[in-house]
Symmetry: C2
Subunit: 241 residues, 2 copies
DNA sequence: ATTTAATGTGTTGCAAGTACATATTTATTA
DNA sequence: TAATAAATATGTACTTGCAACACATTAAAT
């Protein structure tokens, strides 16, 4: 057995067909969206009897010739039709009995997509956007994964311009504030929020106003192009040494 | 193939002996220690020809009946003889070609140990404490893993009482400050540092003084017992749902 | 024309962070 | 034992970020 960290080539060969390749690896995507002033997550009814009636995250086994991130992008593309999506690895979950069919270690990612995006096409009518706040029980350990990813998202939005992936290109400050409130689960002071955002210097006035709102329309903004938006797919291989 | 996220039992069985169990899973431990005012990490000479002369992290394959954390604790115990160690998962690394012998996905953990601990026994004289600052190249993608874990550690110490795992039970404020400086790679103002620490209310005066120092001795402190120290091994299964 | 509902904007107080200097204590040395 | 060296211990003024808070303005709806 590989005593040293570097698994010896010989050792690898010796164990290839023995017990060690008995672990499957999957990725699970917590796909967040924002609609009707609520943070939502895209879920699917579990097709396992053990979990009948429960929702589960979207995931799949990782192919042996596929990056972890590539697997996640594949799932996103298959399920939503979207390509350029914000994606961030959160953690691995590896409890022995987390999957009833065998040992499956999963790497959790969260991603942020714009529910109103014109290219969004759910591939399956078993897919549903569920309000994050209303989710109680899920299949597998997916509730734990969801909670962990939500916490990470809450941390991220405080310093990094990532929430814009949840919004259409142009948005008002009110929309932005409501989104922060939905993610953080708190109410924010309008004046302080605007001050803080303007200090961050993320936004650019697009010179247009809201339309079709039943009150005084607000200005529309977009993310400054200098803020890479942290959206774009990392180059495959960025992790390769 | 498992189209839905819940890998169907049938699907699992179908693929068990096919391509999907062709991925091995390992854990790698970034074992930090502190000595001679330097942050150090415990490394071993790689035994792979491809990496001859290079150091690598301590890791091993995960056994199919073993938690990820259990595997990490096993490595720590084997290598250092220590049991109750601070351990924290950081990230999975899964590039296709990160391991020359095959597809190996690794889950990185960092841990903090007290180099002066009387129970510390390195199992092998190929093991070395290397100053983190002086490490340039490592085997595999281990330099990337090390850098990622160091960044995480730097974040953690700002808010959580974790550095105490690197120190003996009793320590002076100077020692503590030097440790922070070593981890963060910056110099800190002594008065402001002490103010900040005392605000956090982590410490308890043990009523003793430093001994054998060539200058005025400082008071000794220890971590308040109310601060769980975030040390103790999480119960196995805490992650199980 | 009036009402309604949301936009847009500044100030003050408080808390935390940063910069900075002097008196005190112990060991060491002359 | 007196003088020196080196580190401990401690407080204040300044600046910056955060929190609380109110009123005039605009456009849509009635």
């Amino acid at each position: 057995m590989a005593q040293h960290t570097g698994l010896k080539t010989a050792a690898i060969e010796k164990i290839s067909h023995l017990e060690y390749f008995n672990i499957a690896v999957s990725v699970d995507c917590v796909i967040f969206g924002y609609d009707e002033k609520e943070l939502k997550v895209l879920l699917i009814k579990s097709d396992l009897e053990e979990f009948s009636g429960l929702d589960s995250l979207l995931g799949d086994l990782v192919r042996p010739d596929e990056h972890l991130e590539t697997a996640s992008y594949r799932i996103l593309k298959e399920r939503t039709g979207l390509d350029d999506v914000y994606l961030e690895q959160v953690q691995a979950f590896g409890s022995i009995n987390r999957h009833p069919s065998g040992r499956v270690i999963t790497i959790a990612y969260y991603s942020l997509i714009d529910i109103s995006h014109h290219k969004l096409r759910l591939d399956n009518n078993e897919l549903n956007w569920r309000p994050v706040n209303e989710i109680r029980k899920m299949a597998f350990d997916h509730k734990l994964i969801l909670d962990t990813c939500l916490k990470r998202l809450q941390q991220q939005i405080m310093n990094q311009p990532v929430v814009f992936n949840l919004l259409p290109e142009k948005f008002s400050l009110r929309q932005l504030q409501e989104l922060y409130e939905a993610i953080l689960g708190v109410e924010l002071d309008r004046r302080n929020f605007r001050k803080k955002i303007s200090l961050k210097d993320w936004l650019q006035d697009v010179g247009e106003m809201e339309e079709d709102v039943p009150h005084r329309p607000g200005k529309l903004y977009k993310l400054k192009t200098s803020q890479s938006k942290k959206t774009v797919r990392k180059k495959a291989g960025a992790e390769i040494v």
